[in-house]
Symmetry: C2
Amino acid sequence: MAGSAAMYHAMTSLGFASASPYKGPIKLNGDPKGASVLILGAGLAGMTAALELRNAGYKVQILEFNDRAGGRNWTLRGGDSFSELGGFRQTCEFESGLYINPGPWRIPYHHRALLDYCKRFGVSLEPFIQLNYNALIHSSRAFDGAPQRIRAVKADFQGQVSELLAKVTQQGKLDEAVTKEDQEVLLHALRSWGALDHDYKYKANLISAGFRGYARDPGGGLDAIPLSGDPLALSEILKSRVWRYLQNFANYNFQTTMFQPVGGMDMIGKAFAKEVGDLIRYNAKVTRIQQDDRGVTVSYVDTAGPATVQLAKADWCICTIPLSILSQLPVDVSAAMKSAIDAVPYAGSVKVGLQFKRRFWEEDEAIYGGISYTDLPIRQIAYPDSGFNRSGRGVLLGAYLFDGANAYEFTAMTPAERVARTVEFGAMIHPQYRDEFENGVAVAWHRVPFVLGCSGDWSEEARATHYRDLCQIDGRIALAGEHASALPAWQEGAILSALDAIARLHHRVMRT
Amino acid sequence: MAGSAAMYHAMTSLGFASASPYKGPIKLNGDPKGASVLILGAGLAGMTAALELRNAGYKVQILEFNDRAGGRNWTLRGGDSFSELGGFRQTCEFESGLYINPGPWRIPYHHRALLDYCKRFGVSLEPFIQLNYNALIHSSRAFDGAPQRIRAVKADFQGQVSELLAKVTQQGKLDEAVTKEDQEVLLHALRSWGALDHDYKYKANLISAGFRGYARDPGGGLDAIPLSGDPLALSEILKSRVWRYLQNFANYNFQTTMFQPVGGMDMIGKAFAKEVGDLIRYNAKVTRIQQDDRGVTVSYVDTAGPATVQLAKADWCICTIPLSILSQLPVDVSAAMKSAIDAVPYAGSVKVGLQFKRRFWEEDEAIYGGISYTDLPIRQIAYPDSGFNRSGRGVLLGAYLFDGANAYEFTAMTPAERVARTVEFGAMIHPQYRDEFENGVAVAWHRVPFVLGCSGDWSEEARATHYRDLCQIDGRIALAGEHASALPAWQEGAILSALDAIARLHHRVMRT
């Protein structure tokens, strides 16, 4: 009986799915009787809405600005060309099979809706490595500018913090806060967790080396004895401020197991497009959105054809156009929704992909995937999470800037300058850049015509004031997209917002 | 100039390769003039030696007990049969494409020799997930027997330890140990690292939820607001002793990025065998090893043929036979080496693979790969690190016992009993076992005829007394294998020991 009680607890305390707002494939019961829906934007939000509404019996049409589906779900491969605001046109020169994802590039395990669509569509996934213990943390103002292994910084910080707490525990300074009994166990736990020695010290020895790494690794045969290295002093770690990177690794959004689609993030957009591609009108630039009691009328021009305004009509509209664009269009919505549309600035972000002659990060430095962090403007270097241990060329993400002055500065440069600066900064961490670099491609999201930013950058105040207004169905129009979610910049937010919007829309249609 | 000084530091402090005893492909210069080497055992050590010695000009022959190469580098798939000591014979019934690795199953990024052979042979690698934040920690005597998410235990422990240290810092109790200036930064660091709030408290709020996970995840549309859950009390975590699992995740041997070969660990053994398979005589059970001034003579019987003793002769011998077996054979070596051979007991280990009708751990619980830990005799449940997010059947590692009474107890059972017990215990963590289990296979290493244990279990004392004697070239015989390394149970140890042995052997041959 104790067993079955325990089992009951186990079952209720698990049920992870209950933490996700996604409860499995949406069920839109009831016949919409030929009602039509016009969807603006063939990104993940728009295509999710199109797929599920058509399945439910709606007549669906999508207008899409680009000549491809997916929106920010986008992968750049050799031969791909794109233009940015200001007129610069880049053609990616990567070798076949190599790519970067300029937009979303990782999928948390708890993004249940996105994962479910991947499963339904048969999109293959592989692990995305967020934390690689052997990648680097670099501060240009600490450790004489020398990059440090993440494993060393992490172990040395955790070890010395544990040592401090063990010390005050032994000195009786925790007596008010922790019972004597718990203090004894706490000491054991700190020794285990902090890699402390028998005297609760964190030192250069084989205990700490078992976490921070060795000066010489254990080997085989006669010459097998391992040697420990010297820990970084806590004071030095504190002053370097590199501890702020440690927070990142255990973040719910970045925890193992993360995923990326095999072959590029756009495998998801392409899989959606395989389902609803027949509904999409490409190269359709929306210029006006009107509604009245009877329906919605959207004006658009064909960006690839003559500039004549064309009209699309439907009973209802799901608009997934980014607010950065939508706020510039005449749209017939309430003042409250219009205020909400105008309330959200879009974050800047720059990603630079670099191709190298060889995967020197693996060959020379045993860095397989994951991310190095730096206080240089490039901020991150992310190593490819596929093709591990192979010979030949490789592409890494040489810069990932978001927010802040550096993102603006890089956005203001020409694409060639962005790439050159990225190589220059990166060479301060990986000197091999100088000999091995071949070509690069740089996407500055504030200059990407279809979104003018990487994602909606809600302030807490703006969200408190405007979020619910943004998400209400306004007459015959509902908005969807990552901007209409509590998961800004995540694909899951786009999909969940679309599912929420169409569920409410369907409810309204069924009532009327 | 400051830049170039920094660069110099960067380059010297990196150079990870220098920490590994492996410095790239071995170079055996000089002509051995037809010298012959008999290698005993076609595991990774033996095949490494064979490959490199033949390349260097030696005449090489390998005797192997099994009817396949690889030794403990072994993968079980549907249709594979094997017998254990005591006579039990199992046939694996897994669906095509599913497998378990009864022996080694993961490759650290710092195992440079093994990774280099994988690269040379074109063995494809994929990430092995050691730490999955969403996997479980289970204590049958804590939390009412309910499994806890690793993310929650980890965040709650780290958070409350950080809170304690922040508190004593603010109370001035660190004044002797830490400068005032460092204390200020330490508080910031603890807030960041421990997910503390503005007042340095770890609480149920969206800050801690951003690490431990949410009661309700952030969503999309109107119903998007996330909810935090209640942390586990530090006292409860301490008493549960589940903190001892936390140490595992950052261990140098288990740090990201780990690997497994795509399709099974034996892809490596097969790749070696593709190179040296023509040198291997299979089903050869060694019964005696003799040497004199002129050479080595090894007696063996063909386990698949008549029991007549056959002889193999060579100038030199590399013996990779596990010490558990070798200690039972008459071997002409010095008393010192014989003592060393006799000094190493072999660790017990049991692995049980279970096939289920569906990947319920992914579908129901969002556990993709990685390992759950329990104080039940099964100790670990490891989820498959390939085929993520697919429909259909799946195989997981239902038990991984090593050392201790439970390993002996499971070894003593029949294979069918091991599987049944594994299912019974596992169902206390995953109740889905009851409906979804299909079949299983159980390898108890103490009963595996070719090794009688999973690896050499050196005590510190035995190593201090005997290790160097074991690794010396004794007359014309040198030993190799994981037992002749400081990396017991690791494939890297087997390879490095072989490289070290053949380098010394070649040196001796060149001298004579």
